[in-house]
């Protein structure tokens, strides 16, 4: 008799130079990804960047035009989906309408010919894991969207798959349920130690649950790194633009430093001297005690923080994100500067 445990078999995933086109549109260009066993990574990017196609190729629901997909040491490109030993949760509610929650959850075990007694035990355990053991006899139409996705998660986990794939499972849910289920997914993933690929277009979701994030743009991985490094040291302007908010500030570069409001700030990467644009995070814009050089246009209270729009005397508009305790009034004259964090020149 087996139950869902942290010792469930998990495996690494390697995707090598996978490409995919639909007609004349190339969706993936030499897509590479290497995921360690037990790691949870996110594929993050705007709509149409190829993240769902990449996930479907990993699942075997699409065939790549070229490249390899290794699950552990085995290339599974030619292995049909039903033999890849994976679990998947879809964006749309994918529960079988004719089966109740217990039967939905047990479906994968039935396909694997697990005996009835063990099936019952493992189904109950999986439903307990997602907090729905009391709903075993309900039908999908009797559940809320969040509950349906939790059943789908239990159904995907009950077979103890080597790989869990989540295709925007939260996008159809309302904001509060999204956050709850997002945290629950992460807790379960950490508890079971299952290798997980999570597709989302929501940066907050990706930042909250991932060990690493692959930011995708036009079918390529722009950067694959930890959430913190992606945010603090984005490799490209596309990553900087997609992760968080970036202000584009024109500067003059000299000796790999940029002069920003009279402050010499180091560049993240070497660059030839001359005119450039650097990306600055709104939380790195600050007000200092000095000769005023900007005017406050407006300030919005956002709970823990405030967001203030400023215009410098040179005509630049800046957004500053700061603590809610610091109040600035419209038309107030202030002196704007930046924190001395390295910036990305584009």
């Amino acid at each position: 008799m087996s139950t869902l445990t942290a010792s469930a078999p998990s495996t690494g995933l390697t995707v090598r130079t996978v490409s995919k086109s639909f007609g004349r549109t190339t969706v993936l260009h030499d897509f590479d990804l290497e995921i360690r066993p037990g790691e949870m990574i996110s594929l993050l990017g705007p709509s149409g960047c190829g993240k769902t196609t990449a996930l479907r190729i990993i699942a075997g629901l699409e065939s790549p035009d070229g490249g390899q997909v290794f699950l552990g040491d085995r290339d599974v490109v030619s292995v049909p989906t039903n033999r890849r030993d994976l679990g998947m949760v879809f964006q749309s509610y994918s529960l079988f309408p004719h089966l109740d929650v217990a039967a939905n959850t047990a479906f994968g075990l039935g396909m694997r010919r697990v005996d009835a007694a063990e099936r019952r035990t493992r189904t109950a355990e999986a439903l307990r894991l997602v907090g729905l053991e009391a709903h075993a006899e309900r039908y999908p139409h009797e559940l809320s969207g969040g509950q349906q996705q939790r059943v789908a998660l239990a159904r995907a986990l009950v077979t103890e798959p080597r790989l869990l794939l989540l295709d925007e499972p939260l996008s159809a849910l309302d904001a509060k349920v999204r956050v709850q289920l997002r945290d629950q997914i992460r807790q379960i993933q950490l508890r079971l130690g299952i290798t997980t690929v999570f597709v989302t277009h929501d940066q907050e979701e990706a930042l909250a649950v991932s060990d690493r994030i692959a930011v995708m743009n036009e079918g390529r991985v722009e950067q694959f790194d930890t959430p913190e490094r992606l945010y603090r040291t984005p490799a490209t302007s596309a990553v900087a633009a997609f992760i968080g908010t970036s202000l584009r500030v024109p500067v003059t570069v000299r000796d790999n430093t940029a002069l920003l409001f009279g402050l010499a700030v180091a560049l993240q990467a070497p660059r030839a001297d001359g005119e450039a644009t650097v990306l600055v995070r709104p939380e790195n814009v600050i007000v200092v005690q000095a000769e005023p050089n900007a005017t406050v246009l407006s300030s919005s209270f956002l709970g823990a923080t405030r967001r203030t729009l400023l215009r410098t005397d040179e005509g630049l508009e800046l957004i500053m994100q700061h603590g809610a305790e610091q109040t600035l009034d419209a038309e107030q004259r202030v002196s704007v500067s930046v924190r001395p964090e390295p910036v990305l020149a584009v």
Binding site: G60, L61, G87, A102, A175, D202, R248, S300
Partner: protein
């Protein structure tokens, strides 16, 4: 020069979110009870009056009303007289079975294949499937005659061979019944979900798709049976004996028997309808015990 803020504060409602349930539209006043009763009564009368008239006609005897014609139809003494009816009924039932088999084993799998693997062919398939609606039966027969000459040489002239022609005539009706059910169920996602859970294609079809397309498939079967049992032109012009051609023959000899058999065929269709309502209806709430559901 320009300074931008490409990603402002996240909206309170995520852009990808959609309402889980549809909100109710503007409420309309319900019809008054009297209006509903009168409307339903008129509709019921429109259906009932011809049936009651047929029943009354079948019960007429020389000295009033009785079961004489009903008894005569089923009595051994007159069995030979009406044997053409039983032959025609048997042929029609066989034809109905073969036609249903064509719908379930050829049309439905093809529709699923197009939906799951070749969605771009859907419009073409729809056009092809609805085409027989635009062909009058007489035109169809003119085209079928040379084909049936070949069929007669290779498969014989048994009445069951009419099923090939009936398969064509029922396709538009069966197609609409099944397609509306396919449109109401996200068969692509359901089949993909089943595949990721380890189901092979046969299991996907039999354990996931067919149960969810049950109503459409049963409706297609009912329509097919009804069309086959009521079809006269093709059978008559291709010189095959079916229930309708037999009724035509018997009607010349004994109009009472023809009316009784028409009533029985209507009752048969009604029973089928009730069965479909029972078997194909949606399941509301948990019916099965948990141990059955998980076994």
């Amino acid at each position: 020069m320009a300074v931008t803020s490409p990603a402002p504060v996240a909206p309170a409602v995520p852009s990808g979110a959609r309402p889980r349930r549809r909100t109710a539209g503007p409420s309309r006043p319900a019809p008054r009870t009297a209006t509903a009763v009168i409307t339903l009564s008129l509709i019921a009368a429109a259906f009932a009056i011809p049936l009651i008239s047929m029943l009354e006609f079948s019960l007429r005897t020389a000295d009033g009303h009785g079961l004489d014609h009903w008894i005569a139809l089923f009595s051994p003494e007159t069995a030979g007289r009406y044997s053409v009816i039983w032959t025609g009924l048997g042929n029609s039932l066989i034809l109905a079975l073969v036609t249903v088999a064509i719908v379930l084993l050829l049309l439905a799998p093809t529709m699923l294949l197009v939906t799951l693997r070749f969605p771009r062919l859907r419009r073409t398939m729809e056009l092809l499937c609805l085409l027989p609606l635009s062909l009058p039966a007489i035109v169809l027969v003119v085209g079928l005659v040379p084909i049936y000459l070949g069929i007669g040489r290779s498969l014989g002239t048994g009445a069951w061979t009419l099923a090939f022609a009936y398969g064509v005539t029922v396709i538009p009706y069966a197609y609409r019944a099944i397609q509306s059910n396919i449109d109401a169920v996200d068969v692509v996602t359901l089949s993909e979900a089943a595949r990721t859970l380890g189901a092979g294609w046969l299991s996907v079809v039999l354990r996931v798709l067919v149960p969810n397309l049950r109503r459409g498939l049963l409706a297609a079967c009912l329509i097919s049976v009804a069309v086959v049992l009521g079809e006269f032109t093709i059978a008559s012009l291709l010189n095959r004996s079916t229930l309708q051609t037999a009724l035509f023959v018997v009607n010349k000899q004994d109009p009472y028997a023809a009316v009784i058999l028409s009533l029985l065929s209507l009752a048969f269709a009604y029973v089928l309808l009730v069965l479909i309502g029972r078997v194909g209806g949606p399941r509301r709430g948990p019916r099965r015990r948990r141990d059955r559901a998980t076994s």
